[in-house]
């Protein structure tokens, strides 16, 4: 009973301290509103405004037709360049795609000679090049087909392929990015808040003060865990409701309660990480440098930026130990695919196991560090 009360009182103090830190409060609010919106709507992996140019050596009605088939928002209006400039313009990065229509193209086509169209792709623009090239291929094929249909015969296709995209039928990237952004902010902010609380207490000497009272280091750490988790949880809830649901209009397919249960499990790990970093750094400045490295690595490897399956196998085994990866995974399952507990229990278990293990380790370290503070 007494330990629970201690944890309660200390946690309330923690929340009061946080609320009186205006800069931190503004930072939290910004991180869970505007920052999410910007990240969700900023860049997209969708092909958007792709720069394209044509080398039209044919000058036929068909080549004009093809040229007119590319327009915003997916593509910029194509520019006409000469064959001689094509290489230099691509070298300079002016265009991502250059389509070369050879002389006598329409003529050869009508003669059934299957003429070549060359599509030059800047393959260093990884995110857009592959998908964009696919679009270009489809657009050209469709246009040629419909152009010829008006004049010639063309039989039906032997097999029709119907592609149906589940869970995000229109492929709106802000659906995905907004949730990844929330996940990233949860990681960053929880670590910053908890770690800063530990360091602030140490720098101001109040930690020592607590330690001569009848309190255990477990109670002190636990109070930080629940208080900071609660703040983050509320911020997450508000962000989900206001930014994700009301502004970005992302549908939530699964159970909100289930997802929040998962978030609580993850927060256990994130606060433990905050206590760990706050304990090993000697000053706020060192803490800040460490955070940049640790959080950046967590974000990059969690599968939120690029799919986990694309990582080399050995790295996938390593990232399997990262709760952030399972967090991203179960969030996708619950939020988009509407999966229930039976679909996510493995991830939940892994997050909880790593979280508790790491918390125990951080607590031991924390206890040791306060024993030797000079």
């Amino acid at each position: 009973m007494k330990p629970l009360l201690n944890i309660l009182w200390l946690g309330l103090k923690e929340i009061r301290s946080l609320l009186s830190d205006v800069v931190m409060v503004v930072f939290v609010i910004y991180a869970f509103t505007l920052a999410i919106y910007v990240q969700a709507t900023g860049t997209s992996s969708e092909v958007n405004n792709a720069s394209i140019a044509f080398v039209d050596e044919d000058g036929s009605a068909l080549s004009k037709e093809l040229l007119n088939a590319f327009y915003p928002p997916r593509f910029m209006l194509p520019e006409i360049i000469t064959a001689a400039d094509a290489q230099a313009d691509m070298d300079r990065g002016r265009f991502m795609f250059v389509v070369v229509i050879p002389p006598r193209f329409e003529h050869d086509l009508r003669a059934g000679r299957n003429p070549d169209i060359q599509v030059n792709i800047d393959a260093t623009a990884m995110q857009q090049a592959g998908i964009g090239a696919g679009y270009i291929r489809n657009i050209i094929n469709d246009r040629i087909e419909s152009f010829l249909k008006r004049t010639e015969e063309s039989g039906p296709k032997p097999v029709q392929l119907v592609i149906r995209k589940l869970f995000n039928p229109n492929g709106i990237s802000s659906w995905f990015k907004s949730v990844v952004a929330i996940i990233n902010q949860i990681t960053l902010l929880t670590v910053v808040l908890t770690g800063a609380a530990v360091i602030r207490e140490r720098e101001h000497g109040t930690l020592e003060h607590l330690l001569v009272m009848p309190l255990s280091s477990f109670e002190i750490a636990m109070a930080k865990v629940w208080a900071n988790s609660l703040v983050i949880l509320i911020a997450t809830g508000v962000s989900l409701l206001v930014v994700v649901d009301m502004v970005l209009k992302v549908p939530f397919a699964g159970s909100v309660l289930l997802w929040f249960a998962g978030v609580v499990l993850y927060l256990f790990f994130a606060t433990a990480l905050g206590i760990f970093l706050g304990t090993i750094s000697r000053s706020m400045a060192q803490f800040a440098l460490l955070i940049i490295l640790v959080v950046l690595v967590l974000m990059l490897l969690s599968g939120g930026s690029t799919p986990v399956e694309s990582q080399p196998k050995w790295l996938q085994y390593l990232t399997y130990l990262l709760p952030a990866r399972h967090f991203v995974s179960f969030s996708q399952i619950i939020i988009y695919r509407g999966g229930g507990l039976e679909a996510v229990w493995r991830q939940f278990l892994m997050v909880a196991a790593v979280g508790v293990g790491f918390f125990a380790y951080s607590l031991a370290l924390f206890r040791k560090s306060i024993a030797v503070t000079q």
Binding site: N6, R16, R164, N168
Partner: protein, 932 residues
Amino acid sequence: MVSSAAPESPAGPGGKPVVSIQDVTHRYGGVVALDGISLDIPSGIMVGIVGPDGVGKSTLMALAAGSKKLQQGRVIVLDGDIADVRHRRAVGPRVAYMPQGLGKNLYLELSVHDNVDFMARLFGLSAEERKVRVKELLQATGLARFADRPAGKLSGGMKQKVGLCGALVHDPDLLILDEPTTGVDPLSRRQFWTLIDEIRAGRPGMSVIISTAYMDEAQQWDWIVAMDAGRVLATGTPAALMERTGTKDLEQCFITLLPEEKRRGHKVLTIPPRAPGKAEMAIEAHGLTRRFGTFTAVDHVTLSIERGEIFGFLGSNGCGKSTTMKMLTGLLPATEGTAKLFGSSVEAGSMEVRKNLGYMTQAFSLYGELSVHQNLVLHARLYHLPPEQAKARIEELVERFGLGAHLEALAEDLPMGLRQRLSLAVAVLHGPQILILDEPTSGVDPVARDSFWELLIDLSRKQGVTIFVTTHFMNEGMRCDRISLMNAGKVLACDAPQKLIEARRADSLETAFIAYMEDSAASTAPPVESKATAPAHVPAAEEPAPQPARTEQSPLRLGLGRMLAYTHNEAMQILRDPIRLAFAFVGSALLMLVFGFGITTDVEHIRYASLDLDQSPESRAYLEQFAAAGRFFEATPPARSADEALRRLQSDDVSVVLEMPPRFGLDFRRGSGPEVLAQVDGAMTFRGDTVEQYVQGVHSGLLRDPASGLRTAVPQEYAANIEERYMYNPTFESIYSIVPSVPALLLLLIPAILMTVSIVREKELGSIINFYVTPTGRLEYLVGKQLPYIAIGMVNFVILTVLALIVFRVPIKGSFLTLLLCTLFYVAATTGIGMVTSTFTGSQVAAVFVTAILTIVPTIQFSGLLQPVSTLQGGAGFVGSIWPASYYMHASLGAYTKGLGAGLIMRDVLFLAACIPILLAISFMGLRKQEK
């Protein structure tokens, strides 16, 4: 206000005042630090500015030194207006300023020698001059033996001496020392004053202005300025002031000088004797020892303290007082020995002991962001006082400690004296039997100190509370029942203060303490710091010329010298700071590996399941083509029902399900164009889009492929053959794009953060004062600090290139030399960005986060890492077109993957080169040469 526009004729020889302050007011936010002060400080003598903390002493001195920007009024120093830049520059080499705080203007990572040498460089001494001068000064101050020790590992007294060496290195005419002896042990303090006396003897014309909170110290000086609450209370010789107030010592004199309302309620403290009789032991320590590594902080301390006794612990900073206390409270386990409270042993973590204990840590350790009442309530709760009892107890304490008027005020807004009373109230809240107080009164004015002691005496005599207190103040030591003198981890003596004085036949406790310290130093080791007590060789004494060691050098050379001094200094610092060093080198390599392995847009091994509702040869032939698509698709067991298929998509088991409709084979043979349904997981949009393209690709491929067994009788005539050329990266593997792009991010992020930290760190820790008070120009300062980080950036480039070549096997196809040149300009520009962010951030934490966000976001969003610059429009396009990372990214991709020659990268080189002077100019304008 007792202004002294016409000071009593001072004893000094100088006719003109060395510093004349005319109607100066200074504010920090809403707080008035100096309130319309006018004061003439006579030259050629030793002037003391006395008063407790926070009355404006430091502000006054910083203004006189020209390190702080004047807000209102006029300050004339050495016959010129200090607000005038030209005068400051001209007079700078004649003024030396040592700011408050132990070693605040020192570089803690640098050695003693390097610190002094750095100051000598800034004042333009040549290499030979420096060698001689630094050696002389270190010998004179007894620091020669410690020349190679990092300043951070020195005791407080030694740090102050290093600071003094730095100040004296250029033979100043005006020496300004701000609280040079606060926190320094009595022996070092005495040595320090001896040293100053000797230096003054050698340079009779030199004026010295010193501030102090120790009134007894100031009693020896020529002329005193007593200050309180931003105003001057009185000026004059100590004797004249004491005569005027009819007091015997300066402390009493100061109290008498205070305005009426502050003195109210103050009475001369009387200490009733302790009731004799029962001698229960409250605290017993036996052979208490604590070592940190090889360093022995506390060395066999044995104590026994009776119940109700006030026991004082006297000693300097770092002598082991606090460590001893922590062992007594159970905060720190003892390496050796035992400690007992009321007969039961203190084990680290024992809850019973803690309930009997009240503790007040050094400095203020309550929650400043909570109100007075909230602090009290929190502690009552943590000690589990029942609510009724807690309420009564809090009311009682508020009444007795006079906190009633401040209940709702935030603890951090309270003045020092009140804060300490609140701390004490919190410490006694639960009615402990033992109170342990670590320097409870440092920084508190004499009146508040006396009222604090009244409370302590009351607790001890009326309630039988045992009080264990440490202090710097000798007069507080006199109030204790018994004291123990501590130095370097050892208790030198322990008895009633009067008896200690008698035992040494000394005139005061301080003299007795010094005598004990000298004995102990003589008996143990060769004297450590006592060199200065012997007639020291003070260089200035032998050199009559006012500016003996200065040869004329051209201004340009001097400037270059100062710049390189900063370069050298910065390089040494970073080499000795493991965390920053690791961040500089390990950080970039780590991130490169994570990016290179972790970020890949290659979508491969897509897990798919088939749902074949037809099971005809045709449907099997169709599905066969996906299984044969190599690394792109990975088959999983077929789904048996639509439900199962959906469930597997939901739980991310598969990313695509291919559904062959019933009668597929039949419809195909009939030529009626059956539909195949591909359900693609679109949750992760990029992957979904790519999977869609792959499915489409396999589908159109199999229709043309005669081997598929699905080739229809009617070939598709009249179709164009689309030939896709993946330029620069024919295999279309993301590693060839990611690996060359990542350096653009890392060579921006890491040099910018390190650069900004290096400047903001100086602001935060205080060593930027060296820039304020030396003739160093802004450009010299900036470029000097920038050079080491450019070098670090280039080393990073080499590391990243080696990783790219060896680990990721991404070769450089284009011109390496052009890329090298480009990198040089790029890191010069990125460190420039760090400089710019340092101009508007105040703390290191803010600097790191602001720089990280300001550099990462535009680099990822607008410079082509994710989205080609050519596709950006409007604001994003504009940012992309001026952001240096866009150009470097182009150059790096060009050199690695595209194999571009020098000509095509030249535009990037030129742009980056143009960024350097622009960023430097912005930083130049944003950097202040004075503190605000």
